[in-house]
C-alpha cells in the first residue's frame, strides 16, 4: 500500500466512525484538538487499523500519535514490520487485572 492509499483508508475510517467530513481531515489535522476525538475514539481507531495492518499495535507507540499524518506513518511502519516478519509486541492479555 502506498502512503496515499494508506491516507485514503485512514480518512475513510475517521470519517465513517466519527461523523467527520472527509474534506475536513488533512494530514496535519490533530486528532484530539482539531478533529475533536477522545481516548475511546483512539482505541476504536486502532481496532479498525488492525484491518490494514493485521497486527496489534504497541500501546506506547499508539499513545504518542497526535496527527493524521502520524497515523499514516504508523500504519506504514506496521506494514513494513509485518512484511519483514517482525514479531508483535508482547502484551498482557486484554482485560487482565480488571
Amino acid at each position: 500500500m502506498t502512503r496515499d492509499e494508506i491516507l485514503k483508508n485512514v480518512v475513510e475510517i475517521l470519517a465513517d466512525s466519527f461523523e467527520l467530513d472527509p474534506e475536513e481531515i488533512k494530514p496535519e489535522s490533530t486528532l484530539y484538538e482539531e478533529l475533536g476525538l477522545d481516548s475511546i475514539d483512539a482505541v476504536d481507531i486502532f481496532v479498525q487499523l488492525r484491518e490494514l495492518t493485521g497486527r496489534r499495535p504497541d500501546p506506547d507507540v499508539a499513545r504518542e500519535i497526535r496527527t493524521v499524518e502520524e497515523l499514516v506513518s504508523f500504519v506504514e511502519s506496521e506494514l513494513a514490520a509485518a512484511a519483514a516478519g517482525e514479531p508483535e509486541p508482547e502484551l498482557p492479555p486484554p482485560g487482565a487485572g480488571t
Binding site: 477522545d38 475511546i40 476504536d44 481496532v47 493485521g54 496489534r56 508483535e88 482485560g95
Partner: protein, 596 residues
Amino acid sequence: MGNDTLDVLICGGGLAGLTCALQLRHAMPDLRVTVVEAQARPLPVACHKVGESSVELGTHYLAEVLGLGEYLRREHLPKNGLRFFVGPPDTPIAERTEIGPVESPTVPSFQMDRGKLETDLRRMVEDAGVTLLEGAKVVGLTLGEGGELHVARIVMPDGAERQLTARWLFDAAGRRRLIQRELDMAREGKPVASSAWFRIHEKLEVGALVPEHERRWHARDVDHTRWLSTNHLMGPGYWVWLIPLSTGYTSIGIVTDHLHHDPSSYGRKDKALAWIAEHEPALSRWLSTRELEDFKLLRHYSAASERVFSGKDRWACLGESGQFLDPLYSPGTDFVANFNCVATRLVREDRAGTSTPELADELIDMLTGWTDDCLRTVGDNGVYFGRAEVFAPKLWWDFTHYWDCACSYFFNRGYELDLEDHRRVRGAVEQLFRLNEQAQDLFDSWAELGASDQQRRKAFVGLPPYPGFLTDRHLALAKPALGDALRPRLEEHIALQRSVLQELFLRALTELGEARALGDSMRSAGWRPHLSAERIACEQLPRDERLEHISSYARDMDRAFGRARGDGTPLSTLLTLAGFHVDRGASTPKRTRPST
C-alpha cells in the same frame, strides 16, 4: 430406610446425570448415589454427543461449583466467545456482517469434547464414591407418591434383572424421557426447528472458507483465534455451527426453523452435503475433500413438559430429559447447572429434615421462570439470522440480559438463599424477565417493520466493544454479590436494563421511521419510555457535544453498530408520532461552543 435403599438413583450417565452425582457427593460425602447408564465405556471421542460449547453460567458451574476449572483448561479448548457471520442469501462470508468479541473474553467458557468429558466424568464420579452401573438399562419405573420410595427395574449387562429402590429419582436419560413418559407429561416443544450434525477429523479455520484476497477480513483476526469461537454461518431461517474440539475434530451442525427449511432436505449425509452446497458453498468446497464422521438428524428437537420437577414426590427431570429449547447461545450446560443445583439443595434439605413444600415450590418456580425467559429469547429466531441490522442489537440485549440476570443469580448462588430472601430476589429477577419480554417484542417489531439494508452493512460489529459498558457488564460477574448483596445488585441491573432498552428503542425508532406502528406494539407490550428532553434534544448537537449528554451504553451502541440513521425526521417528532411524551422537566442542552 433399609440398607438396600438408595438416597438417590440417577437414570442416565451423560453430562447432566454425572455432574449431578458428583455435586451430590461433594455436598454429602456419605450419600448413597447410583447412576444407571446404558452405554458402557469406552466412549468414542468427538463423535459421542452434540452440545460441545459452554457459555458463562454452565462454565461457572463446571469450573467453580464442581471444581473442574483446571481440568477444563488442561483438557479442552478455551472458547473465544460467540461469533456470527450474518447476511442475506447467497452472500460470501467476507461480505456478511461479522459480529463477535473485539478481545478474547476474560470470563471463561469452553469448547468441550463430549466423549472425552463424559469418560473423564465417569472416572471422577467413581472416585467420589458413586456407584456407576454401566451397560445397564432401565426397563421399568414405579414412581413413589407421597412418602413412598421409587422403584426401578434394571437389566444388567449379563441379562440379569435387578430392582433398585430410592428415595429420590432423577431422570437424566436425555431424549428417552423416562419420567415424562411414565407420567404422560411430555409435550412437543417450541420453537419448531430441526438440526443435523457431523464431525470432521481436522481443525477448521473459518478463514479457510474466505479467499486470501479478502485481506481486511483476514487481517481483522490479529490473534489468529477466530477459529476458537463458536462460529455461526447464518442466513434466513438457518445457521450452521463450526465448533473446534481439543481432540482435533471439528463439530459442524445445521439448525433450521420450519418456516424456511424442511429437515428432509438435509436429513442424510448426501442430502446434507447438497444442502450445504446450496446455502454455504465455501463450506461445501472445504468439505468436498474430507470425510464426514458420524451423522445425526434431530427433527423438531424442542421438547416441553407440563412438569419437570416435584419436590413433594422427590423426582426431577435433569438435562434434556425434561425439556430442550434451542441450541442458539449454547444453553444446554446452563440448564444442567440450574436444575442440578436445585436438585442438590432439595436433597440436602430433605436429608437434614429442613425441607418445606414452600421452599421446593419457590425454587422450582424459579426454574420454570428461567425456562420461559430463555424460550422468549431464543424462540422463533429464524427471521433474524439473515438480518444483521436487527440481530446485532438483539445480541447486545441478549448478552446483557443473560449476564445481568441468569448469570448474576447463579454466580452468586441465588439457589442457596433461604425462602424469604429467595422470594425477594425472585421478585427482582421477574422484573428482569418482564424487561426481556418487552425487549424481544421490540426486536420482533423491528424485524417485521424494517427491511434488510445491505447498502449500509457494517463489515464488523465488535460485541462486546472493548473497553465499554457491555464488557463491564461481563466483568461484573467476577465481583461477588452473595447473600444479602444479591438483591441490591439485581435492583441496579433493573435500572440499567431499563435504560438500555430505552436506547435500543430510540435506535429502532430512528432507523425504522415506522413510528406509529412501533409505538403501538411497544404500548401493547406494556412499555413506555421515561425520556428527558435533554436526551432527545442532544441528537441535534455536534458529535462531541452530543457525547456529553448521552450515556456510555448509548455511545457504545454507536461504536458497535454505527450512529442510528433514519430519513432525517427529528427524534422528537418521531416520538410524538409514536404517541410517547418527553419529560419536559429536564433542561434542554445548550450548545457549549458555536458549531463550525
